[in-house]
Assembly symmetry: C2
């Protein structure tokens, strides 16, 4: 019996499920689609005869192990912290696993046993992480073959809204987990610049965003993201001088979001009673008492210019509407407001933008290469986010099943044998990078 | 058999141990002094015949329970998070417990069972929390009796160095846990001002410090500390308009410490490899790359004026000395440097300053009352910190044993029956508040 177990039918899984159902129908496989929300899983099975929806709870050990032992391969689209129990079962039951999430310490610890048991735990094979690794490694390996020295690598990605669906001054709507957007940047960014370690704490991450231009799409804000140093060795860039991974937002987003950071409103670590406060009262609570208006205080204490003030007004956070929530964190209040204002409407198209910038020298000549990807969604279900996160994972599942990927142990897609066939198939599905040389 | 179990022989316990040994010798008690460091415990017993030192590990359940069951009363000077297992045993073995720490959620949960078993778990009976509660409650109860309406209460405390022992521009040396000083302010401060909720995040706590003058000692910096709203109900101040608890530092300390906050160097949440960095390199890593000097960048990006730069130079954090540490957090690097520079030398005197400010109206007249306490240490062992933390707890132990305190359950010293005899005895031991009316 050949069965593919897909865990997680949420918004990032749409394309993955469709792809794997089509593959299964053509290749005599069955699909089990497991999700906490049975109705959602049923709907995503789209009446396929070979697909079965099942209600799933990752903490139900018996169910988990029975589903995994009945599968040939498992692909988990759960949040990253839920993967480890699945991965543990996969190793002991000798089943391959594919995820689109960062390798956690718990995942990493399974490497040796996975190798011993002959299974692969292939992680970071979504968009970011995923397509970023694969597309960067292809260029790095090509340049290495040509004898180039790569002195600088910067890589950025953002899940945005397409210009034709943009109707707000932030140029942003939620195409994935809103909570992660609210809490973004709260761990100090680490990167390398001109050979020097750089550390950027939360209170300066959004204030120091740089600008990245993508031909045909204008300028984006780019802020550094988490620990970029981690990828120097896997990317084979040991002698690099500048190494930075970051996040893209529409122009002006970062300076306006920085007002929230300076206020302190993205804090999820304590609860307040906001049942008697308006949104404007809440903003005032973060500002010193004075006779100035809230807007004047935002200008004075939080680096807010007129553009920022207008962007804040759009969110409703300066309104006199009551909050009507008690025992709630400031971050939760902001999130529930933005979930209304930044909602992807049914016909809205989201947009993925990924940019790699390489500076390298070859035969004494220095060049700056920019490789960029723009993918737009179809609507609020068939998003570019779901497409770019789900298709690489789905193709990886197929390639493991068909023997194209023969590795074992904990892996990320940085070897040509893994990334080449995936990139090739992605390009046929419209996921294609454009390259240009910049004058530096 | 009458035995007092003292857990923790560290720097805050010196006066407490001496006081309880003297009490025990006069009243036919014995003392058991338990500490992870047996030699330290032995030294603090000072050859008293009725005192026994014992090596202690709070996680050794058998030892813990045997020591507690052999005691009439327990006083724990452990760090706050270690109290709960001790408190659990005290309740089940029906032994009274005294601590100088904040009531944790785990402690609070024991209230009902403690009452059922007829024991008191008396917490927050040190300096801050402790003397602050007792001295404030005495004034509040007095004002209430006179029919006054208290509109504002601000209370500040700092463990500083006495002017005669001060030889550094920060006016600060460590008289308690250095780690807590490095991480100070990292939870958003919450307080009430003119009837409005005020929330001050870490990135603005030190920047918005106010100034407090204490007659004869000049001006101190005061910054708000954690959640002041918690004490409105216990202090019987339900209709108050302004309620603020905070921390005192010498003048200029806060603006210089704010440079560290803006840099991001007090972050203990990630590790770096600093084995090839100098202290100056580390500071540069937090600042943008540019041709400016480190000092110029500190001025530009971290609100550092010339006074701040000089204070930073004193710490050694701008030096070209190598750090020589790998896998270390920025906060740990700063701490190890400051532990050298801010060390209390053997003959140094530390100094406790506590200030309460009340605004109240009585018969239509508004008054501002400042009540302040200054206590200086004898040397680096007999510190004012050890005196003011340890003596209230020691007196509380005596008063429970002699029946002066008859309460049961989880308590803090806010009732006259508890605080009056303690304050009275403290005043005989030189711990006396001075009152003055300010012109407002």
């Amino acid at each position: 019996m050949n069965n593919i177990l897909i865990i997680g039918a949420g918004r990032s899984s749409t394309f993955l499920i469709d792809y794997l159902i089509a593959f299964a129908e053509q290749n005599n496989f069955t699909i089990t689609l497991a999700d906490a929300d049975l109705e959602l899983a049923k709907a995503k099975c789209r009446n396929s005869k070979i697909a079965t929806a099942i209600k799933f709870n990752v903490d139900d050990e018996n169910l988990r192990q029975s589903l995994i032992s009945n599968a040939t391969i498992v692909v988990s689209m759960l949040p990253a912290h839920m993967h480890v129990s699945v991965a543990n079962d996969c190793v002991s039951l000798k089943r391959h696993l594919v995820t689109a999430s960062y390798v956690s310490a718990g995942m990493k610890a399974l490497d040796e046993e996975a190798k011993k048991n002959g299974v692969i735990l292939l992680n970071e094979v979504g968009l970011d992480p995923g397509i970023d690794h694969m597309s960067a490694m292809k260029i790095i390996h090509d340049l290495n073959k040509k004898g180039a020295y790569i002195s600088s690598f910067k890589s950025f990605c953002g899940g945005l809204v397409a210009p034709e669906s943009n109707d707000n001054p932030w140029g942003y709507k939620f195409s994935w987990n809103p909570r992660n957007v609210i809490l973004a940047g709260q761990s100090t960014a680490q990167y390398l610049e001109n050979g020097n370690l750089k550390l950027v704490p939360y209170n300066r991450i959004f204030a120091t965003a740089s600008s990245i231009e993508v031909e045909g799409y204008g300028c984006f804000d780019a802020y550094p993201n988490r620990d970029s140093l981690n990828y120097i060795v896997p990317y084979e860039l040991d002698n690099i001088q500048t190494m930075l991974r970051g996040t893209l937002r529409q122009h002006n987003y970062c300076k306006a979001w920085n007002v929230f950071v300076q206020l302190g409103i993205c804090d999820d670590s304590y609860k307040i009673d906001a049942s008697k406060l308006t949104y404007r009262n809440l903003i005032d609570s973060f500002l010193p008492e004075s006779d100035l208006s809230t807007e004047e205080k935002l200008r004075m204490y939080c680096e807010a210019d007129q553009t920022c003030i207008e962007m804040l007004h759009f969110t409703g956070i300066l309104s006199n509407e009551p909050i009507n929530q008690s025992n709630v964190s400031p971050a939760e209040i902001l999130q529930s407001l933005l979930e209304e204002r930044w909602k992807l409407l049914p016909q809205d198209k989201d947009m993925i933008v990924m940019v790699h910038q390489f500076v390298y020298s070859i035969n004494g000549e220095e060049k700056t290469l920019q490789s960029s990807l723009v993918v737009k969604g179809v609507d609020s279900v068939y998003t570019s986010m779901a497409k770019t996160v789900g298709l690489p994972a789905a193709i990886a599942v197929k390639n493991i099943l068909t023997g194209k990927i023969k590795l074992t142990g904990v892996q990320i897609p940085i070897l040509p044998a893994v990334y080449e066939p995936i990139l090739e198939e992605l390009s046929k599905l419209g996921i294609v990078f454009q390259e240009q040389f910049l004058n530096d």
